[in-house]
């Protein structure tokens, strides 16, 4: 007895040390502690350790979860995972604590006379199905919708798409990943014809220079950033942070270069100008593997309801492209961007140096951008002009934010225009899906309906009457939030919310379903490097909680689709995954069999002949290359990647006399998105208890604002009061402020703008104009 208590105490003590080391590592990337101390960390005790991908960001670290007496009690990094090689960040280490918050939703709740009443799961599911039936009968199939997330597991998204697109026949399927990586998708599709990065995290071990485009990796992709820092220690690599604000990433980088919001477009063009001017173009690569296009300009910003835009690509030649770039000499761009010509040339020289391998990394800065597709195209241009692509260490790398934004939203295709393989607009893609789904092909509507912002606008207008929201919290994350919150509360709307904790989104629900979280069920996620990872059910769900997958299956059966939803409860995840794999058969996207995923820390598609593909489009690694050349961009009919002529255009709302500052929003390392889980982890909540507004120190002094003072932010949408943060974590430039969005008590999105990229339809949360006052 005594021994076991001592063991337990020493185990806990080690956990406490580990938590502190992790927290320290996030504050001081690259911090080292004496090795013998690290060796003392828990090696297992009596716990049963099971592998899973972490659910708290798109890095997709492999973790080992320690289970004791049916409870998940500890987490450590999986040393066998090639993603994180045993590392973990502060969110990962504490992730299991998010399962056991005091106010977990354990029973279904139905709103009756304005009050939530407990009911059984059976009754709640019956009600949802009958509401869907009557809505479809009275208002048509396009009056029902589902809104999911990049935290949906692959089976969750798959059954949602099959039910709504295949069976009901509406393309009203969207996911919050529209808000975080739609521009990455359209960037890939326009430049390469196929989504997702060509490279992988192993590029980090080969690159000599890392250029981070508006990407605060130290906080948002902490484990990958540790890998960069590790390479700097080992090989002296260079890290350049190119951003609009000074962050922990800038502080740890070798060089921080600050640009004015939106002008990354101009700087990317200036880098290309320099590459051409100095003769750094990889001519044979460009001649063999690239074509040149231009598209429409002055596209607008999607601010009005029912806004429509379709690009019209037009072929151009290298000479025309070269002439276009004359407007982007470093000297001219210095005036627009605030980046010195010298710094532009400095970055261009790294990209242009044939002896340096360069990795560009980006995430929300480039994607949440009213010209998000363009800036993605422009960074690809740099890599294509220099031929620095699809080889180890030469890698334009678009990171994702969520654990399965790639695996579920992009690959399963839970967006209005998508199918698991291809798009609804193409007949052959509809036929392919209909065959596997066992539905008549006419069921699948060839016309996309609403992207996310427009879907909520349709709910506001009353075109959509029923919405089912799973694993996401749009009542914190939608831009110009007040409009959409009011919309959800309107008469004649029926909202179902599946979640694990009460949130501002469950507040607007008519039915709340308790969901099983992460390791309380079985599933798979797909991370940023095309890696699909499986996790088994390790513990029992809380109360009556049910997986999102099975909730949808139950409703589908009640709607009369028993034939399509034939899955057995005990084996449904396996059955669904096996069915899903059929959509992606073939060398370009084959997924690893489940048995493989169960035995190793994930596999990267295309998974062909028992092997993951690390670098796509490179015939040495990618079995889908078939043109007999070293590279084959087979996503495009001519086998060539596209270099796009895209200009700089300003943001829709820029600071003026009345609203003189830029407002940028984003995340912090401690909290996952809207904080609904991480704010219930005491350590993380204490470390970052509430939102704040970061001010430039000089301006704060002029306005006599000190840390903790109340500051009022006003935009054309409304106002909000936040405590000030001066010279703390991040330091904005003059004329800019930054606010994190995790705090449901300080809803910054009430005042953000719902402008979006006309091609990707992804909103820009990084730029609108704001007035700043001390109160």
């Amino acid at each position: 007895m005594y021994t076991s208590l001592t063991n337990r105490r020493s185990f806990i003590k080690k956990m406490a040390i580990m938590s502190a080391m992790t927290a320290a590592a996030t504050m001081f990337p690259g911090i080292l502690f004496a090795e013998e101390q690290e060796e003392k960390l828990p090696k297992g005790g009596n716990l049963d350790w099971k592998k899973a991908p972490c659910r708290f960001c798109g890095v997709g670290c492999g973790v080992l979860v320690g289970v004791e007496n049916g409870k998940a009690v500890a987490v450590k990094g999986d040393p066998k995972s090639p993603v994180n090689k045993g590392l973990c960040c502060v969110k990962g280490y504490h992730s299991v604590m998010s399962i056991y918050g005091k106010d977990r939703l354990t029973k279904p709740l139905v709103k009756k006379n304005g009050k939530y009443v407990e009911t059984s799961m059976k009754e709640a599911l019956d009600l949802i199905a009958s509401k869907m039936k009557t809505t479809i009968k009275d208002h048509g199939k396009d009056a029902v919708s589902i809104y999911g997330s990049g935290q949906w597991t692959i089976p969750d998204g798959y059954v949602a798409s099959k039910l709504f697109k295949g069976c009901i026949g509406t393309n009203n399927v969207e996911a919050n990943a529209r808000l975080c990586m739609a521009s990455a998708v359209t960037g890939f599709l326009t430049s390469f014809g196929l989504d997702e990065p060509m490279g992988c995290y192993e590029d980090i071990d080969h690159a000599d220079v890392f250029i981070l485009w508006g990407n605060n990796m130290a906080e948002m992709h902490p484990v990958l950033f540790s890998r960069l820092l590790d390479q700097r220690l080992k090989r002296g690599v260079k890290i350049i942070d190119f951003a609009t604000r000074t962050t922990r990433t800038s502080m740890a980088a070798d060089k921080s270069i600050i640009f004015q919001p939106q002008t990354d477009l101009a700087v990317a063009n200036a880098i290309c100008y320099e590459i051409i001017k100095n003769g750094w173009v990889n001519k044979s690569f460009v001649e063999k593997h690239c074509s040149f296009n231009k598209g429409l300009t002055n596209m607008g910003y999607g601010l009005e309801d029912k806004y429509k835009f379709k690009d019209k690509p037009e072929k151009i030649d290298f000479e025309a492209y070269k002439t276009f770039l004359e407007d982007y000499t470093p000297e001219k761009v210095e005036r627009i961007s605030g980046v010195s010509a010298k710094d532009i040339k400095y970055m261009a020289a790294y990209y242009g140096d044939p002896n340096k391998k360069v990795m560009s990394l980006w995430c929300m800065g480039m994607n949440q951008h009213t010209r998000g597709t363009w800036i993605n195209n422009l960074v690809y241009n740099i890599h294509l002009l220099t031929g620095k692509i699809s080889t180890p260490g030469n890698s334009p790398f678009s990171l994702t934010g969520q654990p399965s934004a790639c695996g579920t939203v992009r690959e399963v295709g839970t967006l209005t225009h998508k199918l698991p393989h291809g798009v609804v607009m193409k007949k052959e893609h509809r036929e392919h899906a209909a065959k596997i789904w066992d539905v008549p092909v006419e069921n699948i509507d060839p016309k996309p309906t609403y992207h996310t912002v427009e879907m909520f606008r349709a709910l506001d207008r009353g075109d959509i009457k029923f919405m089912w929201i799973q694993v996401t919290n749009p009542m914190v994350t939608m831009p110009k939030l007040k409009r959409y919150r009011d919309a959800c509360k309107k008469e004649g709307r029926f909202i179902v919310v599946s979640d694990i904790y009460p949130t501002p989104t469950t507040d607007i629900a008519d039915v709340i379903l308790p969901s099983a979280m992460w390791i309380e069920r079985e599933g798979m996620y797909g991370n940023s490097e095309r890696r699909t990872q499986y996790f088994e059910q390790m513990i029992q769900p809380s109360g009556e909680a049910m997986s999102d997958t099975w909730q949808i299956v139950e409703v589908a059966k009640r709607l009369g689709y028993e034939k399509q939803f034939y899955y057995k409860e005990e084996t449904h995840i396996e059955e669904i995954y096996n069915e899903y794999r059929r959509h992606h058969e073939g060398k370009k996207h084959a997924m690893a069999p489940l048995e493989v995923l169960k035995t190793q820390p994930g596999a990267q598609w295309p998974y062909v002949d028992g092997k993951s593909t690390k670098w796509r489009f490179n015939s040495e690694y990618d079995p889908a290359c078939s043109n007999g050349e070293k590279f084959h961009f087979y996503g495009k009919p001519d086998g060539k990647a596209v270099i796009w002529q895209r200009p700089y255009e300003p943001a829709p709302e820029v600071p003026d006399k009345d609203y003189p500052f830029w407002l940028c929003t984003g995340r912090v390392i401690e909290h996952w998105h809207t904080g609904s889980m991480t704010r219930r982890i005491p350590v993380l909540h204490k470390a970052m208890p509430h939102a704040y507004v970061e001010l430039n120190p000089e301006e704060a002094k002029q306005m006599q604002i000190r840390t903790g003072d109340s500051v009022k932010l006003t935009t054309k949408r409304g106002e909000i009061i936040l405590p000030a943060s001066v010279n703390e974590r991040g330091v904005p430039e003059k004329g800019q402020v930054f606010v994190p969005f995790f705090d449901e008590n300080m809803l910054i999105n009430d005042i953000t703008l719902d402008a979006f990229c006309p091609i990707s339809k992804q909103p820009d949360y990084k730029k609108c104009s704001v007035k700043v006052e001390k109160v």
């Binding site: 806990i12 406490a16 040390i17 502190a20 080391m21 320290a24 911090i31 502690f33 005491p682």
Partner: protein, 76 residues
């Protein structure tokens, strides 16, 4: 029986002095970072009162700039 871990930030150049000072206290373990101005402190006490007292003692050390708790467990 509380076990807590903290990050202790010393004043500039005072890392060693702070390490010694905390090490001199009972129920404390210190792990200094090798390459940064930061210490990890783990306390293991019998009860909350003792824990509070210890925390106060640490906070009164002159070479300490800031003490931030990272995690707290109770092994009872």
């Amino acid at each position: 029986m509380p076990i807590k871990s903290y990050l202790a930030h010393p004043h500039n150049g005072k890392k060693e002095i702070l390490t010694k000072a905390i090490n001199a206290l009972e129920h404390c373990e210190v792990i200094p970072a090798e390459n940064e101005n930061l210490l990890i402190v783990v306390t293991e006490t019998d009860n909350k009162e003792q824990e509070d007292l210890l925390k106060e003692k640490i906070e009164n050390i002159e070479s300490l700039k800031l003490l931030a708790m990272v995690s707290g467990f109770n092994t009872k």
